[in-house]
């Protein structure tokens, strides 16, 4: 559930209007008046599900990658496109109720570069097309390069830039798309809040990042999350801590902790290199903050103890850069992390609602 995290941002519209905590983080606890609700019996239909789901209030295309440069240094990039509908009715051109928000970030050990783009639907400035697949906002784009026989997400080009950074990457999938929860129906609270959630966690990444000091060739591993819903959070939930890891043995772990005033809710997916996904029950994953850092005038838990006893996993997660703060319209923490312990690896951590 990157998802959750993603949820985060997703509350674009409400977030503009209301203080972040009034109705869950970023207004994501708001009621889903008139919008479609996730269906436990629903099944994914590709490639159309790679495109936008206008009946739902919120949705995102969320890509993170842990990279290593030709210079030997570690880097991380984020590319996200959020869709939010202000109301379920349609509207053309400038009257479109759809808002789009793009976030891009490039993290080094000493710097965290962030850019944000906003757009409304209906005028072509931003959008997502399923076939041929492209998600874009302004000149930022995630574009399918896949052959006709492959899933459109199997090969992607990815580009974004901000005032002081940019990147151009090629992503090649080495495994299948995986569905979280029960066939992609991912529960987010004990009240039954849920979303449709799938990932492509098997990208090999190569390309170039542009730093203020100049370009650097990079390679690494990427992870794409797709999630849509209309009301993913309960109004008692104040935020979440979400983690995706590529372990050295080729296994992928996705886990999250929804912070709830009535007690936290955790969930995890254990994904084998062949794409087999095991959804672990609520409570199986234990996330314990170890160290906080002062970031953007708040105390953010940046080091974590992660335990998944069912898989014999006990690791410590530490960030590449404590200050991976996304100072965007809806602010949150998102950055590359390293895991040490029983299952070393690399990945991304996202924390919202702090």
């Amino acid at each position: 559930m990157n998802a959750a995290r993603r949820f985060v941002l997703a509350g674009l519209a409400s977030a503009f209007a209301a203080p972040a905590c009034a109705q869950g983080f970023a207004g994501l606890g708001a009621a889903a008046n008139g919008f479609a609700l996730p269906d436990p019996a629903g099944r994914f239909d590709f490639p159309s599900d790679h495109g936008a789901h206008d009946a739902f209030r919120i949705e995102w295309w969320y890509l993170t990658a842990s990279l290593t440069g030709a210079d030997g240094a570690s880097y991380g990039i984020q590319w996200t496109l959020f869709r939010t509908a202000l109301n379920p009715g349609g509207g053309d051109g400038w009257d479109s109720p759809t808002l789009w928000m793009g976030h891009a970030a490039l993290t080094t050990a000493t710097a965290h570069h962030v850019a944000e783009r906003l757009a409304r639907g209906g005028v072509g400035q931003a959008g997502v097309a399923a076939v041929p697949f492209q998600a874009w906002i302004d000149e930022w784009a995630m574009t399918s390069l896949a052959g006709p026989a492959d899933d459109v997400l199997d090969r992607l080009s990815l580009t974004a830039r901000g005032r002081d950074f940019g990147y151009d990457l090629i992503l090649q999938a080495t495994g299948p798309v995986v569905a979280h929860g029960k066939d992609g129906y991912s529960v987010k609270s004990r009240d039954g809040h849920a979303s449709h959630y799938y990932s492509q966690p098997f990208y090999q990444v190569a390309g170039r990042i542009n730093l203020p000091s100049g370009p650097v060739e990079v390679t690494g591993q990427g992870w794409l999350d797709r999630e849509w819903s209309s009301q993913p959070l309960s109004d008692q939930q104040t935020g979440w801590d979400w983690l995706s890891l590529v372990l050295e043995d080729g296994t992928r772990l996705m886990g999250y902790r929804m912070r709830d005033t009535r007690g936290d809710y955790t969930s995890a997916s254990w994904i084998l290199p062949d794409g087999t996904l095991e959804a672990l029950p609520e409570g199986a994953l234990v996330m314990t903050p170890l160290r906080t850092a002062r970031v953007a005038d708040r105390d953010i838990p940046v080091d974590w103890q992660i335990d998944l006893p069912a898989k014999g996993l006990s690791i410590t997660v530490t960030p590449l850069n404590d200050a991976a703060w996304m100072a965007t319209t809806v602010p949150y923490w998102e950055g590359p992390v390293f895991a040490t312990g029983t299952h070393p690896g690399r990945g991304y951590l996202e924390m919202t609602g702090y």
Binding site: A13, F16, G93, W94, L99, Q125, E139
Partner: protein
């Protein structure tokens, strides 16, 4: 002791309340006119800054279509996807509410360019909400609170009658779906991935307008007002100076006594300063209040003329700015100290036992007069030199200043010379005495007479300029507005339908098509004109080649307006750069009231160069008596909005309205200045009246009655005022010439033929001479009613 000293000083004012009133009046009037003008200027400048700051016009580059054509809706997304951080803006006039609407996209608008998302502004969500909102300034919100509009959100700092809303909402209100007027470019974003010229060759990138064209255009207008304010301030200080000088002189005995009693010089000067400070404060507060009233009364006219002349929106209501109040009070204090400077210095350096000599104070030495006259002569010489140069606004104002100040300085010398001449003529003893005594009085009255001269000169000068302008402007309107009806349509299709119907019913249909464009590097307008006798017979050409209309019609030459010709130094035969290629200048025409460069070309050439310009404006020639009925019929038949068909008479009336309101301010300031000068004269006469008793007493003793003496005093002032008036006429005409031939050219870009209006001078005489008599009346009446004992006492007095 300090209290005793203060009480003693203040007791003077209790004994002579009239002096107190005059002093306060002089200082207040000086402050009032000056600060009133400043308040008007500040209000207008704030409005310009708001206009320039709207959508950060002063710092954002814009992409505009050629000839300001709308931008294709798809261009926005294409440019964004090519990495250009552009944001769309739609602008239009919303007739039902009278609002200028500005539609923006809050999601892409550069940060800080609009109130959206700022501390005092609405949030993005509220702007994007289905019902939307319009952001206006509080005055506009108040004015439109009952209008049928989306919810209004009031924010300070927007121009009047301007509303900002979401682009979707504004397009709906304007009934223009998809319309984009121009794009703004985020200055902080990196440039796009491809050159703009490749992506959108039809768009021009326009740099920010800087501090605002309006501020520059209207500079001369405000400089004009400031000059009047400064003139009034100086005249007001004359009054204060006259009163303070007398007061200090009359109090010499008191000061001497206080010093003899042991009050130290420091304490005494300190006390005098405190006293002056208090007076300045009281007068300053009065002046500020008065100035506010003056400004509030004049502002609607100023706003009207700024709108008419420059299209500048200035709110007609005045706001009270603390900085302005403080500046006005500071100015009063400085003015008081300046007016009291010499008197204060004399008191401070006075020997303890010096006698009071008010008479000597009043007499200015011949040497001083000569120096003053020489300075005045030099200034007049400078004015003469400046009048030969033609170098812009500052030089024009320097010319005005040296002319006025030089004339004022030389006046006492000139008056002395004239009066002395009269004194040499033979006549009865009373007559001889009259002239001799008048000659003796000129130095004492010199400041008041200078004030009167300044007021009269500016009256004649400005009056002549305005009258010349009115005469020229009216004649020019008659020429320029030759068509009986002017038709404005909304679309080319509507035009075609109306023309089909109307053409057989009128004598001629004259297209008036225009586009905005760059003319010799300046933003202006190009008009296409038909080849028709209307133009041949009427167009106000200042200079032209032979057969100019044939050559315009064939597309060989263009006509340029006087503003463009002067600003880019064009003469007939030169090339003028136009959109689509340059043309030789075939003629120059006068174009009063229009601040912008303009060019006329033949209709065929216009059509070939600008084929896409919609054909929306036409002049219709028809017998004048049928015009009104036809106008109404067209409006009714095609269901046109009000104002679509305008009669010649209406346009003329509107134009003259703008004209009159422009000069209403000038007129008002003129009259006020004359009023202040009259008060100055009154103050001086009052001062002199007391001092002159020792000279009048012997005449009384020789048998002249008090009534007769008083009558002579009255006649003397009227004679002096008449002399000043006679001197003022040539000076006023020189001023008028400077205004017409130099200042107007520098300020507005056009020159006028100057006329002479003797009727106006007569009218001025009828106003000014009775005013002078009125100023002299009270001192004369006091003399007429003076108890003989008071006159007798003169012979016992030390000064006798």
């Amino acid at each position: 002791m300090i209290a005793v000293v203060m009480g003693t000083l203040m007791s003077h004012w209790r004994k002579r309340p009239l002096q107190l009133v005059l002093l306060l009046l002089g200082l207040s009037l000086a402050t009032a006119l000056w600060s009133g003008v400043q308040a008007i200027n500040a209000e207008a400048r704030a409005a310009y800054a708001d206009a320039a700051g709207l959508l950060a016009r002063d710092r954002l580059d814009r992409l505009v279509g050629e000839n300001e054509a709308p931008i294709a809706p798809a261009r926005f997304a294409e440019l964004r996807r090519a990495g250009w951080a552009v944001s769309p803006v739609v602008e239009g006039y919303h007739a039902p509410s009278g609002l200028s609407l500005v539609g923006i996209d809050p999601l892409t608008m550069p940060a800080g360019a609009t109130p959206v998302g700022q501390d005092d502004g609405p949030g993005i969500a509220a702007v994007l909400a289905p019902e939307g909102l319009l952001i206006v300034n509080p005055q506009t919100a108040d004015r439109l609170k009952d209008a049928e509009l989306p919810p209004l959100f009031a924010v300070e700092g927007l121009p009047p009658m301007t509303a900002i809303g979401d682009i979707g909402l504004v397009q709906r209100l304007l009934d223009q779906p998809g319309l984009i007027s121009h794009l703004v470019i985020d200055p902080d974003a990196p440039p796009g991935l491809m050159a703009l010229a490749e992506l959108a060759p039809e768009l021009d990138r326009v740099s920010p307008e800087g501090d605002g064209d309006l501020a520059r255009l209207t500079d001369s207008f405000h400089l004009n007002l400031t000059a009047f304010g400064a003139l009034a301030f100086v005249v007001g200080l004359f009054i204060a100076h006259a009163v303070i000088g007398l007061v200090f002189e009359q109090r010499r005995a008191t000061l001497r006594t206080l010093r003899a009693l042991g009050v130290s010089m420091r304490v005494m000067v300190g006390m005098l300063l405190v006293e002056l400070g208090l007076l300045a404060l009281v007068a300053g507060i009065g002046g500020v209040a008065l100035g506010y009233l003056v400004a509030a009364a004049l502002l609607p006219d100023v706003a009207g003329s700024l709108r008419g002349l420059y299209g500048a929106e200035v709110s007609g209501t005045l706001s009270l700015r603390p900085g302005w109040v403080l500046a006005a009070l500071g100015l009063t204090l400085a003015g008081t100290l300046a007016a009291a400077g010499i008197a204060l210095w004399q008191s401070a350096t006075m020997p303890v036992l010096a006698p009071a000599m008010p008479r000597a104070w009043a007499r200015t030495s011949a040497k001083k007069l000569a120096w003053q006259g020489a300075t005045g002569g030099l200034l007049l010489l400078l004015a003469g030199v400046l009048s030969l140069l033609d170098v812009g606004l500052v030089a024009a104002f320097a010319l005005l200043a040296s002319l006025l100040v030089g004339a004022a300085l030389i006046l006492p010398l000139a008056m002395s010379a004239i009066v002395t001449r009269f004194a040499r003529q033979k006549g009865g003893p009373v007559r001889q005495w009259f002239w001799a005594d008048t000659a003796q009085q000129v130095p004492g009255l010199s400041l008041a007479l200078m004030a009167l001269l300044l007021a009269l000169v500016s009256n004649i000068g400005v009056g002549t300029m305005v009258a010349s302008f009115r005469q020229t402007f009216t004649g020019w309107l008659d020429q320029r507005l030759a068509s009986e009806l002017y038709l404005n349509t909304r679309s080319s299709a509507e035009t075609a339908a109306i023309l089909d119907w109307v053409t057989p019913r009128v004598d001629a249909v004259l297209p008036i098509w225009s586009v905005s464009g760059t003319l010799n590097g300046l933003p202006g307008e190009v008009f296409g004109v038909a080849d028709h006798a209307t133009y041949r017979d009427n167009w106000p050409l200042l200079d032209a080649v032979p057969d100019v209309w044939d050559r315009v019609a064939s597309g060989e030459v263009a006509l340029v307006n006087e503003q463009l010709a002067r600003r880019t130094d064009l003469a007939v035969g030169d090339q003028v750069a136009l959109p689509g290629g340059s043309l030789p200048v075939g003629g120059i025409y006068s174009d009063y009231g229009n601040p912008k460069p303009q060019v006329l070309v033949g209709l065929a050439l216009f059509d070939s160069r600008f084929p896409d310009v919609p054909h929306l404006r036409y002049g219709l020639r028809i017998a004048p008596e049928k015009a009104a009925a036809l106008g109404q019929e067209i409006t009714a038949r095609y269901d046109l909005p009000a104002g679509s068909v305008i009669g010649q008479a209406d346009i003329k009336a509107y134009s003259l309205d703008v004209f009159e309101s422009t000069f209403a301010v000038t007129d008002a300031l003129n009259i006020l200045t004359l009023g202040v000068a009259t008060v100055a004269l009154f103050a001086s006469l009052l001062t002199l009246a007391e001092m002159r008793l020792p000279q009048l007493a012997p005449l009384w003793a020789l048998g002249l009655t008090r009534r007769r003496l008083a009558g002579i005093e009255l006649v003397r002032i009227v004679v002096l005022a008449a002399l000043v008036l006679i001197l003022a006429i040539p000076l006023g005409l020189a001023l008028a010439w400077a205004l017409v031939a130099r200042l107007n050219v520098a300020a507005f870009g056009w020159q006028l033929p100057m006329g002479l209006f003797p009727g106006d001078w007569l009218w001025l005489a009828v106003t000014a001479l009775p005013a002078a008599a009125l100023a002299a009346l009270w001192p004369a009446l006091r003399l007429a009613r003076m108890p003989p004992a008071a006159l007798l006492r003169m012979f016992a007095n030390e000064r006798g």
